[in-house]
Symmetry: C2
Subunit: 334 residues, 2 copies
């Protein structure tokens, strides 16, 4: 077979919304693999909003992409050739890998995908970072108990909708906050949420939360920060857990964002706020994937995805994330 | 013996600094004790700043004192008579008890004080709430590891000075923040802190912290909230723990206090902020007292106390807390 690969490089750091000129396609020759390496063929490529952050040249929990180097994201690939004892031709693997049609990886950067009765693309969404983020944030920080009240902001997003569904599986009352009535309907109809609040049409979030959380809030999954999260603080219960997954409200602020001081709320309620990134739990990923897959197979978990076809359409799929045209997880099939 | 007791009632809710007219002395007759009860003679009464909060008529983690009812605080007392199997005459006990010279308690509201080679007053300070607050906050939330950097605000206070000393016992680099050069000297000379910052004479807290915390901050014991705590956020390390013990900077604010949004700092660093009150750990108090007593006996822990004599001087001792005239824990010997 051909040992030529297509590659997508970061050509410019986007100023605002990413554009096609920020990406560059090249072709290169793939060398022979060495001991411990595998040759992979990309099957499904994940495009995610967080990649936008890595295109900026600022320090964060993961380093920025380098200019004129391949962009990387979660990719499901097939082993074409292996000089690593742990992999054989035909294995499916998952890793944070460069945007290439053919690529070389060492064993440490990939893990085997257990072929269950699941489409491979699911390993980039509900069985991938998205699902694992929801699962480990709730397991390790949320520690949901039956009968507790869980509030989720950014609830209609890929992570938020799984968070809420896991909350229902655990026997919690689940309230979602989102920005359109359509999304609120989806939360209740498709994702089994008990209640939803459209924050854009709600004047008084404190009051709205009081109405749908008569027993207070035990766990708050925070995807947004800002004023919505301030309103939640007034309703947290003793020993409440606030999971800081995102702070979209703050991402585009030029000044250092301020909010209500959470300290007194945390002290009065012996409550905690904790941030995390999913890679903290890398060693337990297989455990998480198996649990999520079981729930999927039992019909307890629903997921939505938009699949775009063709390696050359990766940049457009990524750009479309910011137009809000897709529903659920955006994946590119190579 | 006489079955008359002196009692101190809350006569008014103080407007600003408490005054003598806010307290009222009465005498009453102590009835016969019933099954499971004990008759106690107060020996040492703790006066603490947090009691000021309970004199306000607002909801907090503990309910406010009632007007015209006895004020309560931590008291070390001697068992005079017992109809409870767990206590005999002569036992020393500790409890959150009313300001009375003689009083009745049931077994559930007190616990035995193990008479070690310690003055009984220590059970109200380093072996009491003060020490236990420091101990359990660090054990359960701080989880100090050798070589880590611990920053303490309100470091010269009763709790802060013990926090710092435990940090040194655990092999940490300890930095204290306080408001006078005298206090900074005390931290370094008497309490073994590595470094101190006088925030009142420091223009740029972020820079000052960077200088004394070259390896960043792993654990932050927060007694103050506000701008000092904002500055700390810029220096927290991966998996940092922020222990919210107090937020003095916010206590007297009339508007809802705001501060920098901590969310992005917590997410970027997979860090946590957690509030607590010491009574969460009530079941483990004996374990904590034994550890603190061991450190005291080994000379690893130093404590300071100011002892005032006489039941009738309790109000003055309490009022003096707000004049800053005392050093270390303020205790009244009956």
């Amino acid at each position: 077979m051909s040992n030529q690969t297509k590659v997508i490089l970061l050509n410019n750091r986007p100023e605002a919304t990413p554009e096609h000129s920020d990406f560059k396609f090249i072709e290169e020759t793939v060398p022979e693999i060495e001991t411990d390496q595998v040759l992979l063929k990309s099957l499904f490529v994940s495009v995610d909003p967080y990649l936008r952050g890595r295109m900026r040249d600022i320090k964060s929990y993961i380093p920025p992409f380098e200019l004129h180097q391949p962009i990387t994201s979660a990719i499901v690939a097939e082993v074409i050739e292996s000089k690593n004892d742990r992999y054989v031709k035909g294995d499916y693997v998952l890793g944070n890998l460069p945007w290439k049609t053919l690529l070389i990886a060492d064993g440490a950067s990939i893990q085997k995908v257990k072929k269950m009765d699941m489409p491979l693309s699911a390993y980039l969404g509900v069985l991938g970072m998205t699902g694992l983020t929801a699962y480990f944030g709730l397991e390790d920080i949320g520690k949901l108990k039956e009968g507790e009240t869980l509030v989720v902001s950014g609830a209609a997003g890929a992570v938020g909708s799984i968070v809420g569904q896991i909350g229902k599986i655990k026997g919690c009352r689940v309230v979602g906050i989102a920005g359109t009535d359509d999304k609120i309907n989806t939360l209740k109809k498709d994702f089994n949420f008990d209640e939803g609040i459209n924050y854009k049409t709600t004047d008084d979030m404190r009051k709205a939360l009081a109405q749908v959380c008569p027993d207070g809030i035990d766990v708050y999954w925070d995807n947004v920060g800002g004023a919505i999260s301030d309103a939640v603080l007034f309703h947290i219960n003793q020993f409440a857990r606030i999971i800081n997954c995102g702070a979209i409200a703050d991402y585009n602020e030029k000044e250092m964002p301020t909010s209500m001081s959470p300290q007194t709320f945390l002290i009065k309620n012996s409550a905690l706020m904790q941030g995390f990134i999913v890679s903290n739990y890398q060693k337990q990923f297989l455990e998480g994937i198996e649990q999520l897959a079981t729930w999927l197979q039992q019909g307890k978990l629903t997921h939505k995805e938009t699949i775009v076809e063709g390696f050359e359409h990766i940049p457009q799929a990524f750009i479309d994330l910011f137009n809000g045209t897709n529903t659920g997880k955006m994946v590119v099939k190579i």
